[in-house]
């Protein structure tokens, strides 16, 4: 029972962690990114469709490529057209929801049965552990990391020191594409098929975890695992009585959201928002 709960927690946390880290490289360089959801979804769809024909390796690369494309679209319109970042993020999500529905409808082979070929989920678990620590070290000990934080805090002053925000954000959003791409591919490898809107709000949850973690990789990782744990609880206790009370599964499903709201209302007093978030 406990074992199953742990395994489920890990499986459910991994896509959240990867997506939250994608949010980290974007938001810490100053680009608000509510398009994580769409980027993940895009990767899910493209990865599932291409894996069938070209195997898991090419499929993974194509999934990542697709979410990088969306991520760079976000970069283009926010940095060169100066569109509000939230608006662009919403548009990205709409484009992803629309085009994946469309692509899956057109190109899924209805005669095929069984799962699409995929890599073992262990691969993604390892990546989800490595990514936060890697990013932590990157931000603290490398030139690129320092420049990312500087641009995220004050793009104008960073520009004066010879750091080009547009360039820094370009690489930040490439990283976002890679990480959300991985998150999407993990979902496909976990479920074995693509279904419409299969990300089901995970991108938003990842963003919430990033914010709960104060835009820091390690706390964000913990927040993701906490969300994964609640989700696992919900699946485990679905319909089963807990402490003598038979709670509807909806109560369990609502838990992560309620926890986030309470956390935002209660102990998250200090605002750690990167100061340059959303600034040109």
């Amino acid at each position: 029972m406990l074992n199953a709960l742990l395994i489920a927690t890990f499986a459910l946390s991994v896509p959240l962690v990867l997506a939250a880290m994608g949010g980290f490289t974007s938001e810490r360089s100053g680009v608000i990114n509510i398009g994580l959801e769409g980027m993940m979804l895009m990767s899910c769809c493209v990865c599932a469709l291409t894996s069938v024909h070209f195997g898991p390796g090419i499929g993974l690369l194509c999934g990542i490529g697709a979410s990088i494309c969306l991520s760079l679209l976000h970069w283009l319109v926010t940095q060169h057209y100066r569109i509000d970042h939230v608006i662009s993020g919403m548009a990205i999500n709409a484009i992803a929801a629309g085009s994946t529905n469309f692509l899956a409808d057109k190109f899924t082979d209805p005669t095929r049965v069984g799962q699409v070929p995929h890599f073992p989920t262990l691969l993604y678990l390892i990546l989800a552990v490595v990514a936060p620590f890697g990013l932590f070290l990157y931000a603290k000990f490398t030139r690129g990391g320092l420049r990312m934080l500087a641009v995220g805090s004050d793009p104008d002053k960073a520009r004066l020191m010879g750091v080009q925000p547009v360039k820094v954000r370009f690489f930040g959003l490439i990283a976002t594409g890679v990480l959300t791409g991985l998150a999407g591919a993990q979902l496909v490898s976990d479920s074995g098929v693509f279904t419409t809107n299969m990300t089901a709000g995970r991108g938003y949850i990842a963003l919430a975890a990033l914010i709960l973690g104060g835009w820091r990789p390690i706390p964000a990782l913990l927040a993701c695992v906490a969300f994964g744990f609640f989700n696992a609880l919900q699946i485990q206790f679905k319909g089963a009585p807990v402490l003598g009370v038979n709670l509807p599964s909806e109560v369990w499903a609502s838990l992560p959201y309620l926890v986030t709201i309470i956390a935002l209302a209660g102990f998250l007093g200090r605002n750690r928002t990167p100061a340059g978030l959303g600034k040109p």
Binding site: F141, T142, R143, G144, L146, R147, L149, A150, S153, D154, K157, A158, R159, L160, M161, G162, V163, Q164, P274, A275
Partner: protein
């Protein structure tokens, strides 16, 4: 630099400007706001591209690596400082010149220490830069130039935020650096600095180079004439009048900061009708809290505020209602809504008062009329009252904000650095406007970090230091040195 031309859209910001600076010199560039000083410097620095002209550097720049188009060997300290508060002092120091893809914090810190020692500065390198005082930030900026091995150092209005003593210290550091072979270009509008510390001076006006002089062969009056292209408006001598009724009376005012510390300590202050009171002090001495408390933005923990003999009610709206007006410190953030039109901005802060409001409704035609007169008062240059505020330069925004504070029945004017970003003539005009309002029965409290400005324009000056307010003793009311001592708490 020769023949430098820069256009922004249809506006020619710089028109074929020449500038030659000798190595080891302290060279001043002076001019009104919008004369093109900062633009010229940004081009020299390399963060802005010029349309025409050539730049030649006679310095050895081999072995210096820069990024982002910045010319090697050139460093610049901008007006608003380039310190990012969220980063540590060390991170700020090395940003943009990190010396490799992997940071070497220990080596960097050792080098930083030796640089600081050379200048006689002290830093706790691992602390967040947000904790730095303005003086500390200024010192860090200078170390940033040294870290980058800048041979040519551009300082854009470096003393805007410093006390006289700190400014003097800064210029001594500059002279030390010049003595070691560095070339320093000082952009300023304070002529005493030019006359005291610089060897040559270039005057810009309207994007053109007007003249270049040896400092030893010129004087303040001549330079001022060159800068404005005509005679300065002369201030009329203040007429002595008996003080009127009390407008503001602050007694035993105490304010606590975020961390529970007292940022204002039992302050007493009175201003009477017709009086312009200056508050001198180094930045961060409690002036900000005093103004905010009088304006109603923060609640005092003890003490009383009386307006025209009546106790003031809590909250900003009631104070505005009773004629308290503010020229806020940060014009972009506090004074205007940049994406709104000038028309709409005219009512900001006065939106509940007639003529801007008729009951609970907005009166657009009255607002338009007021906006016109506000823009006219201090010659705000604009492209139409329906244009967004963001289309105005900082100086023009400041003129607009100052005029707005004076436009509807002011009784108490709280001005925080009202001349910030203004040229000499506009400064004179704004102070003249404040004086006129006071002659009509208002009082003004003026905070400035520039003691000379206060000495010139105020009837009486008090000094703040570490949250305490002190009044100069009898006979020393306008004594520069006496007030300077009060500012640093030496008495």
């Amino acid at each position: 630099m020769s023949g430098i031309t820069k256009r922004f859209g249809n506006v020619t910001a710089l028109d074929s400007v020449d500038l030659e600076v000798a190595q080891g010199a302290v060279h001043a560039v002076v001019g009104e706001n919008g004369a093109g000083k900062t633009t010229l410097m940004r081009i020299l620095y390399g963060v802005l591209a010029h349309d025409e002209g050539t730049i030649e550097l006679g310095i050895d720049t081999s072995g210096i690596k820069t990024s982002g188009g910045i010319r090697p060997g050139i460093g610049m300290v901008s007006q608003h400082y380039g310190i990012i508060p969220e980063l540590t002092c060390l991170q700020n120091l090395i940003l943009g010149a990190e010396g490799g893809p992997i940071l070497q914090p220990r080596q960097a810190e050792a080098k930083a220490r030796s640089l600081a020692e050379r200048m006689g500065f002290q830093f706790d390198w691992s602390r967040d830069a947000r904790e730095l005082s303005p003086t500390g930030a200024q010192k860090l900026e200078i170390l940033k130039l040294l870290w980058r091995e800048a041979k040519v150092m551009i300082l854009d209005e470096p003393t805007a935020m410093l006390s006289p003593a700190d400014s003097d210290a800064l210029f001594h550091s500059m002279q030390q650096l010049a003595g070691e072979g560095a070339t320093i270009i000082l952009v300023t509008h304070r002529l005493p600095e030019v006359l005291e510390y610089c060897s040559r001076v270039t005057v810009l006006r309207g994007g053109k180079r007007v003249d270049e002089k040896l400092v030893s062969e010129t004087n303040g009056g001549e330079l001022a004439k060159l800068i404005v292209g005509g005679d300065l408006i002369q201030r009329e001598p203040a007429t002595e009048r008996p003080p009127g009724a009390s407008v503001l009376k602050v007694s035993q005012l105490t304010v606590r900061g975020d961390r529970g510390n007292e940022t204002l300590k039992s302050v007493n202050l009175e201003a009477r009708e017709g009086e312009v009171v200056g508050i001198a002090g180094v930045d961060g001495s409690g002036q900000r809290e005093l103004i905010q408390a009088i304006y109603g933005l923060i609640e005092p923990s003890a003490g009383a505020i009386e307006l025209s003999g009546q106790p003031a009610q809590a909250g900003v709206p009631s104070r505005i209602e009773r004629g308290v007006r503010i020229i806020p410190e940060d014009r972009h953030e506090e004074g205007v809504v940049e994406e709104w039109s000038l028309d709409e901005n005219a009512a900001l802060g006065l939106q509940r008062l007639a003529p801007f409001a008729k009951g609970s409704a907005v009166d657009p035609s009255a607002r338009h009329t007021e906006a016109e007169s506000i823009a006219q008062r201090f010659n705000t240059k604009h492209g139409g009252l329906n244009m967004p505020m963001a289309s105005l330069s900082g100086g023009n925004q400041q003129r607009f904000i100052a005029a707005r504070a004076l436009c509807v029945r002011p009784k108490l004017i709280l001005a925080f650095q009202p001349a910030r970003g203004l040229d000499l003539n506009a400064t004179q005009n704004v102070y003249k406007g404040i004086r006129e309002a006071c002659d009509a029965g208002a009082a003004a409290i003026i905070v400035s970090f520039d003691l000379d400005e206060l000495l010139e324009h105020c009837d009486r000056i008090v000094a703040m230091n570490n949250g305490k307010l002190s009044v100069p003793s009898r006979g020393e009311e306008k004594d520069r040195n006496a007030i300077g001592r009060l500012m640093v708490g030496a008495e």
